[in-house]
Homo-oligomer: 223 residues x 2
Amino acid sequence: MNDYLIYSIEDDEEIATIISIALTKSDFNVKTFDTGESFLEEFNKIKPNLVLLDLMLPGIQGEEVLKEIRKYSLDIPVIILSAKSLIEDKISLLNTGADDYMVKPFNIKELISRVNVNYRKFLASKFKIKIREYTLDQKNEEFYRYDNKIDLTNNEFKILKYLFLNRGKVVSRDELFKVIWGKDDKSNSSRTIDMHIKSIREKILDENKTFIVSIYGNGYKIE
Amino acid sequence: MNDYLIYSIEDDEEIATIISIALTKSDFNVKTFDTGESFLEEFNKIKPNLVLLDLMLPGIQGEEVLKEIRKYSLDIPVIILSAKSLIEDKISLLNTGADDYMVKPFNIKELISRVNVNYRKFLASKFKIKIREYTLDQKNEEFYRYDNKIDLTNNEFKILKYLFLNRGKVVSRDELFKVIWGKDDKSNSSRTIDMHIKSIREKILDENKTFIVSIYGNGYKIE
DNA sequence: ACTTATTTAAAGGAATTCTTAAAATAATGG
DNA sequence: CCATTATTTTAAGAATTCCTTTAAATAAGT
């Protein structure tokens, strides 16, 4: 089983089973809910990677469920599965934030391929961390500002990556030395890290230090 | 006007006009055809970046047109615009190679956004050259084997890029010297290029020289 | 087999990257 | 506002990586 978790909200037991079996065969991790309420309860605990959403449900309606999801995250892809075939419904849902819309009865193979489209995007973005206008690609060890690649040296990249991974936390020079150089000593006295921070700031156009922030007496922090 | 050329095949004059105006407003370059025949005539001369295809046409049918396009290229995106709303039709056309399928009457804004999806892909792939399992990204100066990035030095990348751009042609050492070093002299005698070719071959796993081929007495060639 | 071209290995030179040291600037707490 | 401590900046030498040359080994063509 791969690590892609799909929540399927579908009250028709037969359809729910077909979806669940097909996705499981394709190696996805599927969890089925028969009401919007039960889904939201679980959603508030564990976030899935993708949601398959029936519109007509007992109790809370699919459109409301979508709005709840979008309150929390704009990134989780939601595919609507609905008997409503009117273009107006489709447009309305897509505008509310759905990523795709399939009219029932749908072809299960088409559903799988549409899920796969999202799965591939997920795989590609898995190694990327985005903060502000910056993107750090851990897989290829690359760094971007908007769509423009910025060449960093080895140590510059390592430092930046560690700050990215510890976004929001203050990272001390000692910690960086330990993690990147594997040394415990030299910590104080040496200004090597400061030098690297300086050239990183230059390269990524953060010379007024609003992105990599210096925390007096403690280290550096992003965000 | 951007450099994205769209061919729209649509016999209903009113719809054709709506499409043409909307796409033109979005800065695309649109050319409209009212029959499959007239489209194919132009297609054989100049290839578009995307095709909008009505299914029900006078004369040759849309499905046939799609097959003709796919005979030539698997890469040109084709969006079907059709009054046929049956899932079976949709599946059938998607299996024949259509990239998307919109049921008439469609929302023109939705059409624009679906065209834009393809346009963004086009922009992203514009700077990439793929040969065999290798991808060379001119924009970011990167090189991949399958999905794995291979680090090349400056000169290594330049040499490889020139060979990629001249795929199929034999490139002499003199030519490489002129283009990459900007020098006319030193050509003979120096083995610098040979050395770089050697390390490129090592890095890209082409040590048996089937990708970068040596042409005795003339230079190197890819493909 | 002979000639000419290409490949390979090794070493020195060039360029880039990293580290250190010291002066200049900025932040904090009394 | 001053004294103290931390950070930033500049510059220069050390270390590493990249480039070029040389010469010997191998391969290709006649």
